[in-house]
Amino acid sequence: MTGADALFGVFAALACGGALGVAAFRSVARMAFSLVVCLSAVAGLFFLLNAPMVGATQLIVYVGGTVVLLIFGVMLTDAGVGRRMKIGLLETISMTFIAIGLAAALGWTAVGLGRAIPGAPVLDEEGVEIVAATPDTLRPIGLKFLGLGGESGVGFLLPFEIISVHLLVVLIGAAYLARAKRRVDATPETPPEATRETASDGLGEQA
């Protein structure tokens, strides 16, 4: 057993523990923290499986972004972080069945795949590395983003640039939707608490 195998076990246990925590805790704040543990452990698994791009994306987008947004969403709503979730019996039973089915499907797939961790480097008689344990996968992706590399020499330059246009649409759409609606009858007498959330969009300045 190599260190990578042991580390894989640790990350897998952390991921399972975090996932159980998300399901078992009743406080939303603790659920969110368990989700951070679970997603970070999954990122560690990706790094061990020699997929640094997926691992980094997992860390940056899911752990760093989505969970933060989740916590913000909870904090901003009236329910608050201290709220304790109430889950009915029917939900518990149905969700248990779904969880068992998912676990069975994933386990069956994992057993069928065999050992997934990239193995130890292949050495010749003098102990010189012939085949690297982990060939780099990050830079080939980066080269493809620049429209180079690969067998055909054609990368994903256009999709890469389209991603930025897509993100631009998301940015403008999110800003538009998050902007609170302007009150039509906004008068100077309105208390500051009420006017603070209204937006001064272009219409407001023309009125």
Binding site: V81, F160, A175, E205
Partner: protein, 172 residues
Amino acid sequence: MDLAGHLLIFAVAAIVALAAPLTLGRLIRPKNRTPDKSAIYDCGEEAIGSSYLKFDLRFYVVALLFIVFDVELAFLFPWAAVYGSAIALTDPTLSEGVRLGLTERLGGHTPGTLPIEATLTAGDATRLAIGGALDLAVFFGVLLVGFAYVWKRGDLDWVKTVAGQARQDALR
């Protein structure tokens, strides 16, 4: 011992170094709890209300903006690796062996498999670096349009309506 083993030893050592003093403290410290001791420390002031308070809605816009640029950052990660390798190859004083090794690393080839003719020259590496920088400038420039839009519309202003009100009053 491989890298993962080292990481494992490091992690275990960190956990033990944290857990040992905490456990020791729990075992030997006197147990006389008072209400003052278990109170929340709030700069010496009496804590008022719950710490689970509702946050201002304006944080949400900032959070959404953060997510968009966060996703963008994930795409910069492989680009940065390529750019770093290309910049390293632009040095014309590198020896042939080092140059071949760096080229193999850049292309994701197994070490020792690339023929010597495939080595990237300093000129090629410079073109790759410049092309990559321009590529990213376009990628980032498109997103900056959205940033400019959000800035112009005042979504980033914390006291937006006060500023908007002042502009409105000035127009009248």
